[in-house]
């Protein structure tokens, strides 16, 4: 069943009256259509500046599309305000609040939704071990390693959203080894939750390894150049990237990227 449907979504920036001055119009997202079934892991890959992040910002209610529709559970959400609070959005840059401890950071979504703080803390405490943060609930974010910060931000996103997570290059700033550890960890965590995930990356291996489907974006303006189903068996591990099926998919993705 389709949980999220994106229909002919387009967005441009600039032009007259935008305050940018030069009047040039930049098309960020052009005529993007795709759907995501409940529980599906959709990865989006494309060259930098192709409008991937803009797509997530449109979904998260931070931007309004010029045209097209965003439909969640069969209901179109036309206003940005209607989409806010409906998705678990994790921006690309590190956004842990330095003045809150890890525990107070991860309950942010529940707190803003107006629930009881104590219940939120309890819920978060139960998930801390799974996210490798046990014993760090009272630590300041500045005391955490890069990988731990991203896991804390992911836990915050998990707790904030009922079903759909929008992750903008969550592992992009990490070193290659930490990234691989976190990829394996995310695959493990994922089987425990029924979350639908839209995951942006610029790493082809990561897109293929994690996704049930990979959307390949063209360079600006971002269009979907290919929609590849990744039928690699689960569980996927370190060895998956070496298999013949993986290589064939990678070749196909590379061909669509036209790098």
């Amino acid at each position: 069943m389709t949980l999220l449907a994106v229909e002919a979504l387009s967005k441009s920036f600039g032009g007259r009256g935008s305050g940018r001055g030069d009047g040039a119009v930049v098309e960020a997202v052009a005529d993007v259509t795709f759907g995501a079934a409940a529980g599906e892991f959709v990865t989006i890959i494309g060259p930098s500046g192709c409008g991937k992040s803009t797509l997530l910002r449109l979904l998260a209610g931070l931007e309004q599309p010029d045209s097209g529709r965003i439909v969640l559970e069969g209901r179109p959400l036309a206003q940005a305000r209607e989409r806010q609070g409906r998705f678990g959005y994790m921006p690309q840059r590190d956004t842990l609040l330095p003045w809150r401890t890890v525990l107070e950071n991860v309950i942010l979504g529940l707190e803003l939704a107006g629930g009881s703080r104590e219940e939120a803390r309890e819920e978060a405490r139960q998930l801390l071990p799974l996210f490798g943060l046990e014993g760090f609930e009272e630590a300041w974010p500045s005391a955490l390693s890069g990988g731990m910060r991203q896991r804390a931000a992911l836990l915050r996103t998990f707790l904030a959203a009922d079903d759909i997570l929008l992750l903008d290059e969550p592992f992009g700033a990490l070193d290659a080894l930490t990234r691989r550890v976190l990829q394996q960890w995310l695959l493990g965590v994922r089987t425990r939750f029924q979350k639908t995930i839209v995951f942006i990356t610029h790493d082809i291996d990561e897109a293929l390894l994690l996704g049930d489907r990979v959307l390949v974006f063209s360079p600006r303006p971002g269009r979907i150049a290919a929609d590849l189903a990744i039928d690699l068996p689960h569980p996927r591990g370190e060895e998956t990237v070496l298999e013949a099926g993986f290589t064939a998919l990678k070749r196909s993705a590379l061909a669509h990227l036209k790098l």
Binding site: Q84, G85, M90, T95, L97, W99, L108, A113
Partner: protein
């Protein structure tokens, strides 16, 4: 580490005082030109009951002046943040206002507000307002847009974003301004009293120097700087209390 950090400057201070004492005695410098540290201490001891009134008066002016400056400074910073038009209108004026020597305004304030506490409080406020307003304003501009986006995506309201993001993010900047203000504030009160007052360290300083009681002048100067240091340290302690994360972050780097 902590103890040596305090120990070394303290040692230097003691050595300087000893050299000063010996030089004044050895060269037989008259006390009205340069009193020795022991003579300064003696003048403090003789006038210790009298000086408390003046310290109290000056501190009262400082307390009211700083409170007004904090309120007005934060309010102006917030107003400039709400309206870019206001920022363009006010910010340059704030900077230009700093080129006016406040000591030149003090006599004017006496003409307008008389010899009571009001003109002194105003001078303290003038000294303290600028660092607080400008620092807080910079702090509000420095909010990470990504964090605001995150809050918006979670459906946060603007009051929530202010309370939970913008104010805490501006905290370190505000406290930098407040530390500068706290250090200036006593000097501000002294300037205000200088041009006319019944009580306060400023007028006491003026009377003592007119009477050539140089040891008392030195003593008053020492009290003024001691008060400034205590105020600075008070702000520092409050800052650590309110923003433990900020100091944890800095020691991390």
């Amino acid at each position: 580490m902590r103890t040596t950090r305090l120990f070394v400057p303290a040692l230097v201070l003691i050595v300087l005082a000893v050299v000063w004492e010996l030089a004044v005695r050895g060269l037989a410098v008259p006390v009205w030109i340069l009193p020795s540290p022991s003579a300064i201490w003696q003048s403090f001891w003789e006038t210790r009951d009298l000086i408390g009134v003046h310290v109290g008066q000056t501190l009262l002016e400082v307390a009211i002046g700083v409170a007004v400056a904090v309120t007005a400074g934060v309010a102006v910073a917030a107003a400039m943040d709400f309206s870019p038009w206001l920022r363009r209108a006010i910010y340059p004026l704030l900077v230009i206002s700093q080129t006016v020597p406040i000591i030149a305004l003090a006599p004017l304030l006496i003409i307008w507000f008389g010899f009571g506490i009001a003109p002194k409080v105003i001078v303290v406020t003038l000294f303290c307002f600028f660092p607080i307003a400008v620092n807080t304003s910079d702090g509000l501009t420095a909010t990470e847009p990504d964090i605001v986006d995150l809050f918006r995506s979670m459906g946060a309201t603007w009051p929530q974003i202010w309370r939970k993001v913008r104010l805490p993010a501006a905290g370190p900047y505000f406290f930098s301004g407040l530390k500068i203000a706290a250090t200036y504030s006593v000097a501000g009160a002294v300037v205000g009293e200088w041009v006319g007052a019944k009580q306060g360290l400023g007028i006491y300083l003026l009377r003592m120097s007119a009477a050539f009681k140089t040891a008392s002048v030195f003593m008053t100067i020492a009290i003024i700087s001691l008060l400034s240091i205590v105020l600075f340290l008070t702000v520092f302690v409050v800052e650590r209390r309110i923003m433990p994360w900020y100091f944890a972050e800095r020691s991390e780097q």
